[in-house]
């Protein structure tokens, strides 16, 4: 049978998602990274971790400085009260969306190729949402009062939240999103933690993985309920992920600010979120694939499929840009028309054209199969896409707020070094968390990849019988 799997003619027609013929070999390949005995963690890993951890330290310093000084250390000022912090919030939340899309929506569509990438994409979701949460939390000025955001009866406030405001919807959406993603992620991890428990060589590992794996023994009765739970979590995460960025876009769409007050925002934001999220997964996976030698598990087929999704969502985003311009003209509303003219040719032209170049033009290269299969091209596009998507949020927020109805209150936004260092710091936090995850937890869902291998073996067996 292994001869069939290695038959080049068959591989050509139907390239396998997993380059392995043996369950034990898969366990070894994935666990070896976590165990660090056979494959020693490269020194470059620890150096990288040191760098990203230092950047995270910068984040801590900046937030500490903000706490003792006040929100004025950021560049937010009239007329731009929502500046980099909300841009960064939307940016990070958007990145998280790809993780849920891969783990939930592709699961419902039975896309088997997701199994090699879903674990790391889900982890990425969690870390991105953590980074996102920092910004609105500190924008409140008094983050130690954050519990005021939740409808908890408390004696120091004696107030209730205003459920007519989209900002409270956002609180519910983002906190639900984080919680559900965490539960989904942990559920997926348990069988793999059991694998690590069973392979543990030291007492400490046995105890840690033993507790984390909850006594999982892979019983058929357990799998039966487990698969049901997984299906339900996927089924509820699918509308959830669509709702989260829709609700984020309501923060803008329910206002009367020109450039924000549009009904296209929910689908436009969701498409943009998936676009940027896939690009971010791509960046991280390319690095992980290269440094941890995962070529057998993350194959070119996975990467090409992701590039196709980037092309589709990038094109949806491009369509939304065109549609916005058309509606601004067609509506006949002078403020709308001005805002869009101002976006492209006003003082923020540089931001707008960076965004058009990165989001509208560059991803179109993916129409060519050669480009979709070139590692350098996909690495560069994954980075430019995220630059473009950051600029998209910045353009929407800054251009609309700097010049709205009254020319006498127009202004221009200047970020401070604290703004910049805080954003850089969240990138450091994100990368640190991801690096720690990639080293200490199974980055690829062992049990799911084995399931795919079993199906492939079965299919190839069938073909063998049919053709011979």
């Amino acid at each position: 049978m292994s001869a069939v799997l290695q038959d080049p003619a068959l591989m050509e027609v139907n390239p396998p998602l997993v380059r392995s013929t043996n369950y034990h070999d898969l366990t070894e390949q994935i666990s070896a990274i976590v165990e660090g005995d056979v494959i020693k963690t490269p020194t470059k890993y620890w150096i990288t971790l040191g760098v990203t951890a230092s950047i995270t330290g910068l984040l801590g310093a900046m937030l500490g400085y903000l706490l003792v000084t006040g929100i004025g250390v950021w560049g937010n000022n009239r007329p731009v009260g929502w500046a980099w912090d909300i841009t960064n919030f939307v940016f990070w939340i958007g990145i998280g969306h790809a993780g849920t899309l891969i783990s939930a929506i592709l699961f419902l569509f039975r896309q088997k190729w997701r199994t090699s990438i879903n674990r790391s994409a889900e982890a990425m979701t969690l870390f991105a949402v953590m980074c996102a949460g920092i910004f609105p939390l500190f924008h409140t000025g008094r983050p130690w009062r954050a519990y005021w955001l939740f409808p908890i009866p408390n004696t120091d406030l004696n107030l209730w939240q205003n459920f007519r405001s989209p900002l409270i919807w956002d609180v519910f959406a983002v906190s639900t999103y984080f919680t559900v993603s965490a539960l989904f992620w942990f559920t997926g991890l348990v069988p793999d933690l059991a694998t690590l428990r069973d392979r543990s060589t030291t007492r400490v590992k046995q105890v840690v993985f033993g507790l984390l794996s909850l006594g999982w023994r892979g019983s058929a009765r357990h799998w039966n309920n487990y698969e049901k739970a997984y299906l339900i979590l996927a089924a509820i995460s699918t509308p959830l992920v669509l709702s989260v960025h829709s609700i984020v876009s309501f923060d803008f769409a329910t206002s009367v600010v020109p450039g924000w007050h549009t009904t296209i925002f929910p689908p436009y934001f969701v498409a943009g979120a998936i676009f940027s999220g896939f690009a971010c997964v791509m960046t991280l996976l390319l690095i992980a694939r290269w440094t941890l030698n995962l070529q057998n598990l993350i194959t070119m087929k996975h990467l090409e499929n992701m590039n196709k999704i980037i092309l589709v969502t990038g094109s949806v985003v491009s369509y939304a840009y065109a549609c916005e311009f058309f509606i601004a003209w067609y509506s006949g509303n002078i403020y709308e028309r001005f805002t869009f003219w101002n976006r492209a040719f006003g003082p923020y032209w540089w931001a707008a054209w960076s965004m058009y170049t990165c989001n509208l033009i560059i991803p179109q290269l993916y129409w060519f199969k050669k480009m979709r299969n070139n590692l350098w091209v996909m690495f560069i596009i994954s980075i430019t896409t995220n630059i473009g998507m950051w600029f998209e949020r910045f353009v929407i927020i800054a251009t609309s707020l700097t010049r709205d109805f009254l020319p006498s209150s127009w202004g221009y936004f200047h970020p401070t070094y604290v703004d910049m260092c805080t954003f850089a710091g969240t990138i450091g936090l994100f990368l640190t968390l991801f690096l720690v995850f990639a080293r200490f937890l199974p980055m690829i869902a062992i049990s799911e990849v084995k399931g795919v291998l079993a199906v492939e073996k079965h299919t190839f067996k069938g073909e063998e019988v049919a053709t011979r």
């Binding site: 369950y23 007519r164 019983s219 058929a220």
Partner: protein, 189 residues
């Protein structure tokens, strides 16, 4: 929870038989063997595998999961909680005119209602699944089987439990070998 059950969970009880266990190296073999064993009249069977094996539920008689029913109740509960909260806060306890909007309305309640319905369902499916499975637990008699650690790696285990009315140590071992299982052992627990 009675003391016996608790002792069982922590592996403190007296040694008694758990069952006869055997191992297979491919999921298809497990399913076929499971079906044969069940056709012999055994009813208390279990299987352990590194990933969900399709067809095993039918082969060894695992009933469909009831989790869906639990979750749907919590979905409704979550939506109801949200609506009740928004109505109580806006229309009863803290009536405040904001932008001329009504004190309570379904239209602006949709996002929070949806989110809480999702949150409640997620917790119900997560906690519910572990509860139905009787997890977390620190000990299970099947861990005494010499190949137990491979059930999370590359072996597919079949169990005939000792409380099966048709269970008989010698015969069951023979039956297990008869369907092609390797490493057949009598497991105590």
């Amino acid at each position: 929870m009675n003391l016996e059950l608790l002792k069982d969970k922590f592996g403190l009880g007296d040694d008694k038989l758990y069952g006869v266990m055997g191992a297979f190296s491919e999921p298809d073999d497990l399913v076929q063997a499971g079906r044969k064993i069940r056709e012999m009249g055994y009813t208390k069977l279990d299987a352990m595998s590194p990933f969900p094996v399709h067809g095993i539920d039918d082969a060894i008689g695992v009933p469909p999961s009831k989790l869906g029913w639990i979750v749907i109740c919590f979905t409704v509960l979550g939506a109801a909680t949200a609506l009740l909260l928004i109505w109580y806060v806006g229309a009863v306890n803290y009536r405040l005119v904001i932008g001329g909007k009504p004190f309570f309305d379904f239209s602006y309640s949709i996002p929070v209602t949806f989110e809480l319905a999702v949150l409640f369902s997620a917790f119900a499916s997560f906690i519910g699944m572990w509860a139905i499975n009787g997890l977390p637990r620190l000990y299970h008699p099947s861990f005494n089987y010499s190949q137990a650690h491979r059930a999370s790696d590359d072996r597919f285990l079949l169990v005939i439990e000792a409380d099966d009315p048709k269970f008989d140590v010698e015969k069951s071992v023979e039956h297990m070998r008869g369907v092609g299982a390797g490493d057949v052992e009598v497991v105590e627990g």
